[in-house]
């Protein structure tokens, strides 16, 4: 496992896709919130009505809630792209042939990819909360009030849960033998989540639950906990698929 972890970490740290995704998921989301804050300042009533938590309750609480909401949706896409790249690039680049006939099993390599991904997601979640605080300070929201601190914790949790929910993209990238299958799957998941929210079953739909929690909607711990089995099942499936992999297409 150590060799697989070392090599996967080496590839991840030196590639462009993780760097770009990290920036988009941290600074990108924080700057987007600040831009929306700027739009709020325009006073346009139609625009203000669309800005949700940023307008009401507004301030730091609204700012962090807005960041959580964006993280839940944009995060699913961003984490999905990262996972699609992590697994799909081996097929797209042809390097998968070199991952056969080794003392390190392919199931172990897939597991190492997931470990690297989870560690990276944790870093992204923490950096995003710092970025949101920094951008909020720069945008002139003043010092962070006590009631916003738990919401920053929720932002980290929502980002992590979202990262876990993107794991099916790895399954799709593996079964589809490339990046596009993974990206297509995660777009499908985002659409399904929106449909679930509009149809009123969102809290019981694991892919939508963290996003609803981010808005402050009533979501129980049990509903949020459903993220665990979904991610675990997807992780087990991708490890199994890599262990049984054949280059037959």
């Amino acid at each position: 496992m150590r060799a697989a972890l070392a090599t996967e970490a080496m590839k991840f740290l030196r590639a462009r896709v993780p760097v770009v995704t990290t920036i988009m998921l941290t600074l990108g989301i924080a700057v987007l919130c600040a831009a929306m804050l700027g739009a709020l300042g325009s006073g346009d009533p139609q625009l203000v009505a669309k800005l949700g938590a940023l307008a009401d309750p507004g301030g730091w609480v609204g700012f962090v809630l807005a960041a959580s909401q964006i993280s839940a949706i944009a995060g699913l896409l961003g984490f999905g792209v990262a996972l699609s790249w992590l697994f799909g690039r081996e097929f797209a680049d042809g390097t998968v042939t070199g991952l056969f006939a080794l003392p390190v099993g392919r199931g172990t390599i897939a597991a190492a990819k997931l470990v690297v991904y989870v560690v990276w997601s944790l870093i992204v979640a923490v950096v995003l909360s710092f970025a949101v605080v920094m951008i909020g300070l720069i945008a002139g929201l003043g010092s962070v009030p006590a009631e916003a601190v738990p919401l920053l914790g929720r932002l980290v949790a929502v980002t992590l849960l979202t990262a876990l929910l993107a794991v099916p993209a790895a399954v799709a990238a593996t079964l589809g033998r490339g990046l596009l299958a993974g990206i297509g799957a995660i777009i499908g998941v985002v659409i399904a989540s929106q449909v679930a929210v509009f149809s009123g079953i969102g809290a019981w739909f694991p892919f939508a639950a963290p996003g609803m929690w981010a808005t402050g909607a009533p979501v129980s711990a049990v509903q949020l906990a459903l993220v665990g089995p979904v991610a675990a099942a997807a992780a087990a499936l991708v490890v199994f698929a890599w262990r049984r992999l054949q280059l037959d297409r």
């Binding site: 060799a3 697989a4 070392a6 090599t7 080496m10 590839k11 030196r14 590639a15 462009r16 680049d93 042809g94 390097t95 042939t97 070199g98 991952l99 056969f100 006939a101 080794l102 003392p103 390190v104 099993g105 054949q246 280059l247 037959d248």
Partner: protein, 254 residues
């Protein structure tokens, strides 16, 4: 005869479009270079994939140093080096980093990697590209890098699919010498190639594959290898055509 480093018995694996392998027995012995030749679509790459576990056969078995492929211990896999179709070269990593990565994946102890990488880069004349990202290497140098990754840990079994692809003449010579040295030191080497002249220079045995079956062998020291090869292939094609006609007649008769 010593235990084969790699052996396939009764291998069958066909694809919907009709290509594939149809009952192949093949082995590679320690200390020999065994070459596989055949036209495009003969099944060379499919056979190599079967022998390395990239495909599972519909029938037949593959053994690696006497172990069934699925049960071969990692210590045995650590003694295998291969390059099938694409080099193990990640475009974002330098040539050196790619070789370090390949060494780790082949189970080389971290403290031994630096010297090993330097040695193979010297052997395959890659030292001047050590710090260049693989994505910026020419096709030929990427192939050299892939070969270096397959050979650097001094494997006991080497499987190379069209290893001279994209190599310049000096690369071909370097590879030839490198493989000869390894075979002399006891490594078992299995290579596929289109280049009969090159195969004749290096191989101890030449097996001819056509339409997914082994149809004979060639003498590496033979006078006119090209003619001998095409005689075998054309004779087999005539037999296959006659079989097709017979099968069609039986269908019509029914």
């Amino acid at each position: 005869m010593a235990e084969a480093a790699l052996a396939g018995i009764g291998l069958v694996r066909t694809f919907d479009e009709g290509a594939g392998i149809r009952g192949v027995d093949i082995d590679v012995q320690p200390g020999e270079v065994h070459a596989l030749v055949g036209l495009n679509g003969a099944g060379k790459s499919t056979l190599m994939r079967l022998l390395l576990g990239m495909l599972r056969p519909e029938a037949g078995t593959v053994t690696l140093a006497g172990h069934e492929l699925a049960a071969a211990p990692s210590a045995i896999w650590a003694t295998v080096g291969h390059l099938v179709e694409y080099p193990l070269a990640y475009s974002e990593l330098t040539a050196r980093a790619n070789l370090e990565l390949g060494a780790r994946l082949h189970g080389v102890a971290p403290r031994a990697i630096a010297a090993m990488v330097e040695s193979i880069m010297g052997e395959l004349n890659l030292a001047s590209y050590a710090g260049r990202r693989a994505g910026r290497l020419s096709l030929g140098n990427r192939q050299r890098l892939g070969l270096a990754s397959a050979l650097q840990h001094d494997p006991r079994l080497i499987v190379l699919d069209e290893p001279t692809n994209a190599l310049d003449p000096s690369g071909v010579i370097l590879l030839r010498e490198s493989l000869r040295r390894r075979a002399d030191a006891g490594a078992a080497i299995f290579v596929s190639s289109h280049h009969l002249d090159e195969v004749a220079r290096i191989a101890h045995r030449i097996t001819v594959l056509n339409a997914g079956r082994v149809i004979g062998s060639l003498d590496p020291g033979g006078a006119d290898l090209e003619r001998a090869f095409f005689d075998l292939v054309h004779a087999d094609d005539l037999v296959n055509a006659a079989d097709l006609v017979r099968a069609a007649e039986q269908v019509v008769a029914r």
